[in-house]
């Protein structure tokens, strides 16, 4: 392994860990009161909604159908594995049928 590659990998590791640790340090410095607590409480839902929204709503008909199927399976089974497997199967079939 070249020195260059080693420095690159160690640099990538260092910035990534600094970001991971930085969020916690940042939160520790924020006051644990009303607005901040409420804000942090809303972050997970907002981040997850942001993660899925572009893929589901602008992905194409196969992804939209699969997302609807995923939602249905979740509300019927309330099971994460069933939902994941069902979603994968749904998108596979939808793409097969729609040729996407």
């Amino acid at each position: 392994m070249s020195l260059e590659a080693l420095i690159t990998i160690l640099g990538m590791a260092a910035v990534t860990y600094a970001i991971r640790a930085g969020g916690l340090l940042l939160a520790n410095r924020l006051p644990a009161t009303g607005f901040v607590t409420s804000w942090l409480k809303h972050v997970p839902g907002a981040v997850l909604a942001s993660l899925v929204a572009p893929a589901v709503l602008t992905g194409g008909p196969a992804e939209a159908i699969a997302a609807a199927a995923t939602a249905l399976i979740y509300f019927v089974t309330r099971n994460l594995f069933a939902t994941m497997a069902g979603g994968v199967l749904a998108v596979y079939l939808a793409r097969l049928v729609l040729g996407g």
């Binding site: 990534t16 709503l57 992804e63």
Partner: protein, 239 residues
Amino acid sequence: MHAPAPYDARTQFWLGIRLFFPVAISIAAYGVVWGVLAGQAGLSVLEVALMSGLVFAGASQFVALDMWTPGSLPVLSIIIATAIVNLRMVLMSATLRPLVGHLPLPQALGTMFFVSDEQWAMTMAEVRKGNASVAFFLGTGVLSWFAWMASTLVGRVLGAFIDDPARYGLDFAFTATFLALLFGMWRGRGDLIPWLVAALAAIVTSRLIEGNWYIIVGGLVGSFAGALIETAKERRHVA
């Protein structure tokens, strides 16, 4: 949150591993692909092990492969690109304060190494249900790390036998998982507006800015909307 008893911690650790197992399979599918591509980009087995083991952040590792030109590596550009791709994790680790707050700071910071999209999402879903712990978070994190490490090495060593996971719909596994975790976080009408605002902001941002800024923008805008609505309501109650 109080520190769990030792037995409790072990149960929680294994619960995290058990619940995370299906997600780890999807992660491994992408790990194998990344390993194959890493071989094509000229990374040695040792370099693959070091990067997967120490960086442990899939999206940024895919970006790094795109920029990997052995002999004249754009060292600084790759490191900066890595930071930009992983910046979203600031939001994730910030929300883990209630979970690790009772630990001594060095230990709390140590656990942050495992923060990644899927295992953070699953931990927060458990937090919302009221039964997550540091041990649960570590269980999902350790399994996630082993799945990524092992699968990238397998891909690098086995080489070209592997297909694109998207051909089997496996790219949708993460979307389906995130959707299920999101539905599980629903606590009532108060969540509707922040989630809609987040989704809308993410869609608009993804159209306007390349890369994964849409996660950060949507996450920030949606959560601020939620906090503004909530504090405004509380103030009305007081007044």
